[in-house]
């Protein structure tokens, strides 16, 4: 029985490693990295003998809307996924998809993804797991 337990534990460890590797491809950042933001260091304003710097609430900087493209290659025409086949004039107006999981191209096939975002200088984590079935 002990031998069986040992074998089971080894197999479960291998299985767990494969499972972790599989999940890694289904993660997504809920926002892009802000290139102009100042880096925050953990505890940087808590030094001895210094006055803590007050800081306000932090908000994510998600994209309001982002598009996907097929570049023009070999003399062809480029394509964009939304507002296809071409952008409309500004006076026409259009609708943004501000909640990325609702974008229509996500509904085309069965899959799952986890969006995550760190906040409060890395102390908090917001995670949203979504399955499209």
């Amino acid at each position: 029985m002990l031998r069986l337990l040992r074998v089971t534990v080894v197999i479960a460890a291998v299985f767990a490693s494969f499972q972790l590797g599989l999940d890694a491809s289904n993660r997504a950042q809920a926002q892009d990295v802000c290139p102009n933001c100042q880096p925050h260091h953990f505890g940087s304003n808590l030094g001895v003998g210094t006055t803590p710097v007050p800081r306000g609430p932090e908000y994510g900087q998600p994209d309001l809307f982002y598009n996907f493209y097929v570049p023009p290659t070999a003399g062809g025409v480029g394509a964009q996924m939304y507002l296809a086949p071409g952008p409309v004039p500004p006076h026409v107006g259009h609708t943004y998809y501000t909640y990325q999981p609702f974008m229509p191209h996500e509904l085309l096939y069965k899959h799952k993804r986890t969006y995550h975002r760190y906040y409060n200088e890395g102390r908090g984590l917001t995670r949203t797991s979504i399955r499209w079935r």
Binding site: I11, F15, V70, P71, P72, G75, G78, A79, H105, R113
Partner: protein
């Protein structure tokens, strides 16, 4: 080996092989995507025909899991079945332009390409 032990071992092995199969399928998909991307760099997603309603070729978005397309034409041995190489990606390629040398749909179409609608696979995710 008692029944409970055998059951635990069987479930563990079944889970392992199921996971292995999923990982292999994922690896195969990545390899196929790399090949498709390489082919897509060397050819256009559209034939030189525009759609009658828009004046531009129309990209018909299909799931990223779609692989093959069939194109029909008049005549013997004119039907082809080819991979859908092109896929939408996040990278902004610059201003979307072109379309100067496109032809209208002929009065008597002889190929499905002449209708100006072409398949492109959707992206896998926001960071793709």
């Amino acid at each position: 080996m008692n029944k409970a032990g055998f059951l635990v071992l069987a479930v563990t092995l079944a889970s392992f092989f199921a996971s292995l199969e999923a990982v292999q399928a994922e690896e195969h998909m990545r390899r196929a995507d790399r090949w498709a991307l390489r082919h897509a760099r060397g050819q256009s997603w559209n034939a030189p025909y525009y759609h009658t309603a828009t004046g531009m070729p129309i990209s018909l978005v299909v799931p990223p899991t779609a692989h093959m397309q069939t194109r029909w034409g008049w005549g013997v041995a004119q039907n082809t079945m080819t991979p859908i190489y092109h896929q939408y990606r996040r990278t902004y390629p610059g201003e979307i332009s072109g379309g100067e040398n496109l032809n209208p749909t002929p009065y008597w179409p002889s190929h499905t390409d002449q209708f100006g609608v072409f398949y492109n696979r959707g992206p896998y995710g926001p960071g793709f």
